[in-house]
């Protein structure tokens, strides 16, 4: 095409008036002079679209097939969880915050419990910390499996989705064993975990740990030898680490760009410093690196769980501080104090000293921070989750500008946003 006939694309994606001819004469609008006319097309993508990973709406400005601008529109599943939390006593907040990012519920509970524990200054028994690590890392694998399955689905690989759900079922079975629930388990409590792991859990866990790396090898082999997947991931929509940091992006997306920032290593919590694991990093930060980093994290999580179950310390699984944690069931029949504590905890809940803390942890998607402000009563005055999906979504426009719309689909898949966490 003649260069002078290129459409004038204005900054910010405004609709260009049409091509201009070199002599200032207006182009004929019916195109009968043989010139190709191009104009920007604004396409509404979602909120109900199979490739948006949830109810995400994107206003995409296209020039042909090339994305020129993109605006995410969110809030479709906003349920006011942060407001609801202000109306509940601390221990009743755990199930509502678990429902924010519905694929990493253990992480939501962990961030909230860690913030409250910092306010109350309660010590967590080492066994509880190890049990938390086991469940957090199982949850990380489950979350990455859903990402891998749905991500592959969006690239056209349907069978991977079914395979990934097969392994996820094994994890949900383990969750069901330890807590009675498959999702939103409410397993983490302020001060520890609600129950010790039952007998038989370790055997099933070890069976899972033996099978998971082999399956991850298979998924890697299937996808890495698939030319279509490689074409759609390699070199598409890269973003450098500096821009990502400016946009507040953390987690696998940042690590894919080569920055090995991981709170489990940098600022260990819940005994993470006692485990030997590596942080997978990418080199160029394209979609392939994002894929490779998350797939490699599955192996590292398996290693952490192996070490945690091998070295699981004996002792309490929840703090013995009766002001915070429920007394054991058998004590209720014999101890008056236990009965009083039980009654006070279940009716009013525990009071938390006034103050405010921000407690960050490393979720499967990046820094998940929980800010809790207490006014001294038994209900929080403010609960805020710094959800990594919400912040990471800002990087999407920077990633896809100038790429094809097919790459946009691949990038949303590799961004792994969870709309429950974004909208809260």
């Amino acid at each position: 095409m003649n260069a002078t006939r290129q459409p004038a694309v204005t900054e910010g994606g405004a609709r260009a008036p049409g091509p201009t001819l070199p002599d200032g004469q207006a182009a004929s609008s019916d195109g009968r002079d043989g010139a190709l006319r191009q104009e920007l097309l604004t396409l509404n993508f979602g909120p109900h679209h199979p490739a948006t990973h949830g109810v995400l709406r994107l206003l995409v400005t296209l020039e042909g097939e090339v994305v020129r601008d993109l605006k995410p529109v969110i809030g479709y599943v906003h349920t006011g969880i942060e407001k609801t939390a202000e109306d509940k006593s601390y221990w009743k907040v755990i199930p509502v915050v678990e429902r924010m990012d519905y694929l990493s519920y253990y992480f939501n509970a962990m961030a909230f419990c860690a913030a409250v524990e910092a306010l109350v200054e309660v010590e967590i028994p080492r066994r509880a910390q190890y049990l938390r690590v086991i469940h957090l890392e199982l949850n990380r694998i489950a979350s990455h499996l859903i990402w891998l399955g749905t991500g592959a689905l969006e690239l056209g690989a349907v069978s991977i989705f079914l395979y990934c759900l097969r392994e996820r079922e094994l994890i949900l079975d383990l969750f069901e064993m330890s807590s009675g629930q498959r999702m939103h388990t409410r397993y983490f409590q302020v001060g520890g975990v609600i129950e010790d792991i039952p007998s038989g859990f370790e055997r099933k866990l070890r069976e899972f740990l033996a099978v998971m790396p082999k399956r991850a090898d298979e998924y890697g082999a299937i996808l890495r030898s698939n030319e279509i997947v490689l074409q759609r991931l390699r070199g598409t929509c890269p973003l450098d680490a500096e821009t990502l940091l400016g946009l507040g992006v953390t987690g696998p997306l940042l690590r894919a760009a080569g920055n090995p920032w991981d709170l489990r290593k940098a600022a260990p919590y819940s005994s993470y410093e006692e485990f030997d694991f590596k942080i997978p990093v990418g080199s160029v930060g394209d979609n392939y690196d994002r894929f490779a980093v998350r797939l490699a994290e599955i192996y590292e999580s398996v290693r952490i769980i192996e070490q945690a179950i091998d070295g699981l310390p004996e002792g309490q699984f929840i703090t013995t501080d009766r002001k915070v944690a429920l007394p054991p069931r058998h004590e209720l029949a014999t101890s008056m104090e236990a009965l009083i504590h039980h009654f006070k905890l279940v009716t009013e809940g525990f009071r938390v000293p006034p103050g405010e803390v921000y407690e960050p942890i490393e979720s499967p998607r990046g820094e998940l921070g929980c800010y809790v402000r207490s006014d001294g009563s038994s209900k929080p005055a403010r609960v805020h989750m710094r959800d990594p999906s919400f912040v990471n979504l800002q990087a999407l426009a920077h990633m896809v500008k100038g790429s094809y719309i097919a790459d946009l689909i691949a990038t949303v898949a590799m961004l792994d946003p969870i709309l429950g966490g974004i909208d809260r």
């Binding site: 969110i74 809030g75 407001k83 946009l247 920032w261 820094e367 710094r386």
Partner: protein
């Protein structure tokens, strides 16, 4: 985190922009003048706190100044966090936006969505924000739901049944 003397030192270096320091549970918080938020954060960025981890709002009902905006800063090389807090009164809940680049230095692009969320939930107006619109609530929503005096529940659900005019029309 800077320890308690380190926090005092940091506050002294910021001069009269730092109004108060709070050292609580091993966490350092600087309460600063909302009119100078951009310069304070630029100063802290020069000291290594280059990553803005989170921005969130809080309502101190019934104390004035009621609305608070909290900035969680992180120094990734020293793994050091400091919290900066600015409080604005309810009558004039205005504070400079961190999002855009301005004459006084580069902005913090990560603040974009988070400032919009605080505007949406608390009604804090971020002066200079490129696109200050509601983000989670519907655009025609009235009120700021995360304020402490905003009631929980009792809100009519948008069904035809609840709209008298449309209900009559459907009969």
């Amino acid at each position: 985190m800077p320890d308690a003397p380190g926090l005092e030192l940091l506050a002294k270096e910021l001069g009269d922009a730092a109004l108060e320091t709070v050292y609580f549970r091993g966490r350092a918080t600087l309460i600063v003048d909302p009119r100078r938020i951009r310069s304070v954060l630029a100063e802290l960025r020069a000291r290594g706190y280059g990553f803005l981890a989170s921005v969130h709002g809080v309502d101190h009902y019934p104390e004035e100044p009621r609305l608070g905006v909290i900035y969680e800063l992180l120094d990734m090389s020293r793994v050091d966090r400091v919290t900066v807090k600015a409080r604005v009164p309810l009558e004039e809940p205005v504070i400079d936006s961190l999002t855009p680049d301005a004459d006084d230095g580069p902005g913090w692009p990560t603040a974009d969505h988070q400032e919009r969320e605080i505007y949406d939930m608390f009604g804090v107006v971020f002066r200079g924000h490129p696109e200050l619109r509601r983000i989670l609530m519907p655009e025609d929503y009235e009120g700021y739901p995360q304020r402490r005096d905003f009631p929980v529940g009792g809100e009519p659900v948008f069904f035809t049944y609840n709209d008298p005019a449309r209900r009559a029309a459907s009969r």
